[in-house]
């Protein structure tokens, strides 16, 4: 569905040159659900805008839905749906009018556009807002309308730039239901960006981590977490038991770290499958007569993955 080679984009702003995207190679197969994850300014939106033909690349190539974005931008546009980061719906227009007109822009006839608009108002919980002026909607309601606008023509390939930003948990869950259903029922290929780590983790099957305009990791969330961070077990034992504990822990895991405190010590170590390893380790320690005061298992998040890859936390960046 998508194939890019060394896709690059620089911006000149004043005397400065911003290298927003620096050589992205990406392949997305039909029916995939891919999430771009990265801090502010990483180049996520710029990449999406090149893929949707809104922005010509500085260099490199991109083929989207079988069409070269520079050679035939209009062809690309007629085959995709795009929900941008900013408000898609015009503030001075009515909700219903925007939906119908968007349908018309994509060549739907009036009956089909009406059907689709009605369906989408239902799924995105916007019933009763038909005749509201867009500027009077709340932030989350506006965002849902933007999503509805992007879905009106049922594109086979859908790009969403931070779709869930500003939505409450309930509506975010609804949105995800809807996105996942699109995939199941119609095999829609979906590429989205997000700041919500949990969202990328639980919903997307493939996470592309972008930083400073480059892809720094690209895999399933599970694989990324297992490779880049792994599960960590921490056991707290009294100082007397420390030598025995070291021995047991050395066999069970890797990357052992000790944090001594008065009278006792916390030892943490990395294991492959935490939930399985934890009872085994406790058992082994018990067998050797070690009294374990406390034990915790920490499973990694995508933030740990990012931290491991870049030395920075995504959370700090994401809250900006």
């Amino acid at each position: 569905m998508i194939h890019t080679q060394q896709l690059t984009r620089t911006f000149e702003s004043g005397k400065e040159t911003v290298e927003a995207v620096r050589g992205i190679d990406l392949d997305v197969a039909e029916g995939e659900l891919v999430a771009f994850l990265g801090p502010n300014g990483a180049g996520k939106s710029t990449t999406l805008r090149m893929l949707t033909s809104l922005l010509p690349p500085t260099s490199g190539t991109a083929t989207v839905a079988g069409i070269d974005v520079t050679a035939d931008p209009a062809g690309v546009r007629s085959r995709i749906g795009y929900i941008g980061q900013k408000d898609g719906a015009g503030h001075n227009y009515r909700v219903w009018d925007e939906l119908l007109m968007q349908g018309r822009f994509y060549g739907l006839d009036k009956q089909r556009a009406t059907e689709r608009a009605d369906e989408l108002l239902g799924t995105l919980d916007l019933e009763g807002m038909k005749m509201r002026k867009v500027s009077t909607l709340s932030g989350g309601q506006k965002r849902r309308l933007d999503i509805a606008l992007g879905l009106i023509h049922e594109p086979a390939l859908l790009f969403l730039d931070e779709p869930s930003t500003g939505m409450d948990p309930q509506n975010r869950a609804n949105l995800w239901d809807h996105i996942l259903r699109l995939r199941e029922e119609f095999g829609t290929t979906i590429v989205l960006t997000t700041h919500y780590l949990e969202e990328a983790d639980t919903m997307a099957e493939r996470v592309v981590v972008i930083d400073h305009g480059r892809i720094i990791a690209d895999d399933t969330a599970e694989a990324l977490k297992a490779e880049q961070a792994g599960d960590r077990i921490t056991v707290t034992v009294s100082a007397d038991d420390l030598p025995t504990t070291r021995e047991v822990v050395g066999q069970a895991g890797t990357e052992v770290e000790e944090v001594p405190a008065d009278g006792c010590a916390a030892i943490s170590f990395r294991v492959d499958a935490g939930p399985v390893a934890l009872p085994r380790v406790l058992h082994a320690l018990g067998d050797k007569g070690v009294a374990v005061n406390a034990a915790t298992l920490k499973q990694p998040t995508l933030d740990d993955v990012f931290l491991n890859l870049t030395g920075r936390s995504l959370r700090e960046g994401a809250e900006a």
Binding site: L54, I80, I83, K86
Partner: protein, 269 residues
């Protein structure tokens, strides 16, 4: 071989018919803002009447050359019609700038609509109320001795329409060029609009003005539009001013669309 030619011809035809369809779609979206907000429409209809009602009596006093109020109107009214067209279409970029800022224009750019249609449809929307305004003030002027020539007025409005699309497209180009700072749009628009209006002889005749003003008015396309409208509103087709007006309108429209479409496709929003 023949199949290739066939399909090329079909796709060309489709492209042409869809350009019209696209223009209509854009126009419809824009026009909805007027239909959904009739108050703004009523207000915009009253405005030129107020203008005419306040200005014409003064002008009648100044130009009391024995020809009467009717002939003053005959001179002045076409000027007002051109003026409201200029005001309406040159300001229209501000709407676009707002939609660029909020993000709605990016959404529309991401649809398969033809780029020219985005500009033409929008500019035609600005002209829609203007046509109604022009008709109303013309009808209102009739009881005061204004002679009405419907066929001539239709041609006059057509010329204005073509010209207005060009001005509108230029206004959009300006809006895109100045999208980073809103005031720059207004600064440029205002500092171009008034000299153009005055140097077209729209308000006051330029015959009494200095030579340099007359020279400048010769290169102002608006001059030819105003002259054509005056001739048409006074019931004459057979005058070279009409031809010059048509040419000025077509040239403005072509240049405006060329600049406008280039700006839309080249610029990074």
């Amino acid at each position: 071989m023949s199949t290739i030619t066939d399909s090329a011809a079909t796709s060309a035809r489709m492209a042409r018919s869809s350009l019209l369809g696209d223009i209509k779609a854009v126009w419809t979206r824009e026009t909805l803002t007027i239909l959904r907000d009739p108050f703004s429409l009523i207000f915009s209809l009253i405005q030129p009447l107020v203008f005419l009602g306040l200005f014409a009596p003064l002008l009648a006093g100044v130009a009391d050359d024995g020809l009467g109020f009717g002939s003053t109107l005959q001179f002045f009214l076409p000027g007002v019609v051109v003026m409201i067209t200029m005001f309406g279409t040159s300001m229209t970029g501000a709407n676009l700038q707002f939609e660029i800022m909020t993000g709605a224009f990016e959404r529309i750019l991401a649809t398969p609509l033809a780029r020219q249609a985005l500009l033409i449809g929008r500019a035609l929307k600005e002209l829609t109320p203007l046509v109604v305004q022009a008709l109303i003030i013309t009808l209102v002027a009739v009881p005061f001795g204004f002679d009405l020539y419907p066929a001539h007025i239709v041609l006059g409005l057509l010329i204005l329409g073509v010209f207005g699309v060009g001005v509108g497209a230029l206004s959009y180009a300006l809006a895109i060029a100045t999208r980073k700072n809103e005031w720059a749009f207004w600064a440029v628009q205002q500092s171009l609009l008034f000299p153009l209006l005055i140097l077209s002889g729209m308000m006051l005749p330029l015959e009494t003005g200095p030579d340099w003003m007359q020279a400048l008015s010769k290169v102002n396309p608006l001059t030819y539009i105003v002259d054509a409208e005056r001739v048409l509103f006074s019931g004459t087709f057979d005058d070279s001013a009409v031809v010059y007006g048509i040419v000025a309108a077509l040239v403005t429209c072509a240049v405006g669309l060329w600049v406008g479409v280039r700006t839309v496709t080249k610029s990074i929003l």
